[in-house]
Symmetry: C3
Subunit: 416 residues, 3 copies
Amino acid sequence: MPVSPETSYILNSFSFLIHGVLVMFMACGFAMLEAGLVRTKNVATICLKNIALYSLAGVMFWISGYNLMYLNVDGGLLGTLLPWVGDTSALQSADYVDGGGYTAHSDWFFQMVFVATTASIISGTVAERIRLWPFLLFVAVLAGVLYPIQGAWHWGGGWLAEMGFADFAGSTLVHSAGGWAALAGVMIIGARKGKYTKTGQVSPMPGSSLPLATLGTFILWFGWFGFNGGSQLALGSAADVTAMSIIYVNTNMAAAGGVLAVMVLTQIIYGKVDLSMVLNGALAGLVSITAGPDTPEIWQAILIGGVGGMIVIITVPLLDRLKLDDVVGAIPVHLCAGIWGTLAVPLTNADASFITQLTGVVSIGLFMFFGSLIVWYGIDKLFGVRVSVEEEFEGLDKMELGLEAYPEFGMGSHKI
Amino acid sequence: MPVSPETSYILNSFSFLIHGVLVMFMACGFAMLEAGLVRTKNVATICLKNIALYSLAGVMFWISGYNLMYLNVDGGLLGTLLPWVGDTSALQSADYVDGGGYTAHSDWFFQMVFVATTASIISGTVAERIRLWPFLLFVAVLAGVLYPIQGAWHWGGGWLAEMGFADFAGSTLVHSAGGWAALAGVMIIGARKGKYTKTGQVSPMPGSSLPLATLGTFILWFGWFGFNGGSQLALGSAADVTAMSIIYVNTNMAAAGGVLAVMVLTQIIYGKVDLSMVLNGALAGLVSITAGPDTPEIWQAILIGGVGGMIVIITVPLLDRLKLDDVVGAIPVHLCAGIWGTLAVPLTNADASFITQLTGVVSIGLFMFFGSLIVWYGIDKLFGVRVSVEEEFEGLDKMELGLEAYPEFGMGSHKI
Amino acid sequence: MPVSPETSYILNSFSFLIHGVLVMFMACGFAMLEAGLVRTKNVATICLKNIALYSLAGVMFWISGYNLMYLNVDGGLLGTLLPWVGDTSALQSADYVDGGGYTAHSDWFFQMVFVATTASIISGTVAERIRLWPFLLFVAVLAGVLYPIQGAWHWGGGWLAEMGFADFAGSTLVHSAGGWAALAGVMIIGARKGKYTKTGQVSPMPGSSLPLATLGTFILWFGWFGFNGGSQLALGSAADVTAMSIIYVNTNMAAAGGVLAVMVLTQIIYGKVDLSMVLNGALAGLVSITAGPDTPEIWQAILIGGVGGMIVIITVPLLDRLKLDDVVGAIPVHLCAGIWGTLAVPLTNADASFITQLTGVVSIGLFMFFGSLIVWYGIDKLFGVRVSVEEEFEGLDKMELGLEAYPEFGMGSHKI
């Protein structure tokens, strides 16, 4: 006796909801990770940016994003520029009868939290010197226009989908897409004052709270089971839950591989294990497996994640050599490991081709990088994206928000 | 082929459990929010109060609360004063056969975490000057007597339910109920020393850690999907999961509306965006949608939440003018936005009437405010609710608990 | 109409996944709890150890742990030394047909997060003076060999299972097993310098951040619903969800009992309520109920948890008298309350016998204690487990990792 269509409908929808909630919590993970990795004087501002971008991304995805990504793409380049209106009578849809159905709102919720993730990637890279409102303007364009267009190419059923591009949960569509936007942003906004000296030295600017950064990483890891597991897009059959179980295991093991690879390598290279690098190793492992978490064996998942961690170790100093000042290491983690993960899919998935994967990576890369560059450039010319030197020195919390993240910090515990 | 009654029974019960766990985690959210918004010298005490009140509320809800709220209310004013005994043979109940059933314990668990939420609302308002045990005594009465009685009026099937009052997940029954109790408390206990000067000035007393407050807000937002989604009270049919999906989306968008409204308005009014106000804006948006998350369109949910955020901006200074010292802003968020949310239900729900909504808001308000006032007054006369001036100055952590939340704070990192 | 076998299969597997994710998040809870309870100079190191041990435990459980615990135990002492290979064609298994089935990977995932929990227990006890890599070597042996062998005795279907030993979710197999390993470790590594003076005094070394410790405790409580609830091992029938609902309620009430017992007792004994003791009371309540969360009435669950809390109050000073320096109190919480919880099962479960429970507690205790002692001793002789006196004084963060957890701590907020 199989699963009844109505039961499938419930389980498919509930999978979107519960996994979507886990992905929503990743916004908290990014906030804590970034709050831990910026300096004290910018902590409140990065918290504000994270809760604001999550809110704004959702609104923009409703206004234009969802339908631009999913409505009548039909193998093409983009959907339709219309606000989304959820069908509340989904019960009568054909999908419902054949057991593959789900509620319109559960699908929208799950897709919405993904665009918020993409936006979260950017805030860390350009932290500590970007102005609040220009940053949010970029987020609005990203969530409402840029992300949905490239998303339409694959998940919306556009030309990359027709080619057979394989990006299960978004190593490219979410993570490297966000990474390209961050890279364009950092090129427009420039490095923090004092980060690179005239003599070519790199000044370390250590984050204010490693336990907060660790908390953020654990929350992201926790949420990633929703990100990858929910991307099975269904729970209404034994085949779905079997795939979902494999995805959970591989997601976890890739993160573990990233952690262990970075630990061993930093111990060998630097003689000490670097915690913030290890945290980024976990995230790079997660990003790496995201393009294809359903096909690897466990040992392959560990290796894919481990190479992701290794990529972080290689690319973090490389970015510094290029004077690209990425405060939290989001470009190595999301862009570089995201590319790796996408290109690695054919290693374990016979249905994927390397050429098609490369086509997807390059085309989305070109679109997101240049699209973002134009938007960042326009915002900079119109409004200016960067705070003044004085504001940067004093800290964004005091200058932009007029408050302090830890007002009693350094004053003993008896102030007032 | 429909869902089998046993499958419905499983799904309905599991919805209570998994959503209840999300609501349980809101206790952690309140603890972090309040720990971030009080001053360093009172941080450990507020952590203790939060874990203690969650524990105590559960025990009291077992001893008297649940049955006072749900057993034989029959359109009346209250249920039966008896400890709750869970039926472990629920399998044979009539509910099970017709597909609407769930386990007794899953229902109890879900209702129990709601009373804990009500109690959590109060601790923040009266923080930094209330004594531990008198506070917990109030919580015991709240969870065991006050909350269940007004709860019986609507959710227990009492007179408000018969009138057609609509409060889906508790804008009034949970949030403004807790807010009224907090208001009564703050009137009895008075403002913190130095908060309001004789010349009419308001001294800002900024919270110790904005990242902790941000963490708490994100956890509350995360948990709210359980609060509102689980209040569908069933997952065993396509209609249930369709409603639940709409609820998830509207819950999220109302919070987003609260965030964005507060950001824009504080930017316009004060020239700067205030993070702690934004956090309260998110929460006010969530409280506002809680009375009716199942009927609005997305744009309506955003507006309902946005007005909730606006109410916070208006009522926070108003409370200060009245010298009502609400440390974390719980009265604006839970009481004021809770009233707004309840009165707004008829705007999107044709089955609700404004008069009935007003009747519910006023009657529950009168009962909770005066009931709480009497209990607070009695506790104050019998035991005294307020710490001494010296204890308040030195901080509750040192004086009531004999420890410090951050003992190495301000001493460099090499103490001991 | 009963649940279809395929629906059962989905629900059973999904229960493993979603509850497993909650247990995975307990790794974050342990990290925050321990980061809050160590001193500032060791905070980053304990964060690193926690993310590393979670990763490593998973890999070792794949390499040898799972099959040593579950493959062909057949009433004996241990399984088979082979890496685990997940059956991806579980759809055709006999289990699937009869409604008791689940996917191989979902089961593996759920069991894997349990071994990580066992490892997490140890890091707190030996914190602030253990070297990173020797610690991780112990974790590898624990997760790959020691834990699985004793696990095979009961959950793997070994000799204790045949005797009728009852340990539902691991008061003994997880918590006291980890506690015994921690005890052996602390005996080999010795107390922190200065903890016990020559005149017999105990120097308090208060933790750096009580809000972080509170956060960790709440996360553990939250995750414990997965730990105990998921240990029903099925969700595919009305009987399963009824049991699971009882488990959720009892888990919560035992924790509440632990909190309230510690509060009342520390108030009576010391005249003040000790927050860190209360946090451990919550955890001791949770550990106590874990051996049998499915059989007690609510009042029994509160009592079982309350006695667990009392045990913490008694054993914490006892350990100090024995100069066993357990930084976070993991031995009282996990070992002592774990023994209590296991022995208490026959009080509410007629199928359990006190003698069998004692046999399990003693045999697993002997195996884990002496097994761990040998491994700790070997690691110490080969590599040395303890940092130098200078490293301990300066802090592990600076000496082992070359960084600081809070680099701007004590410097005002304008450094750099």
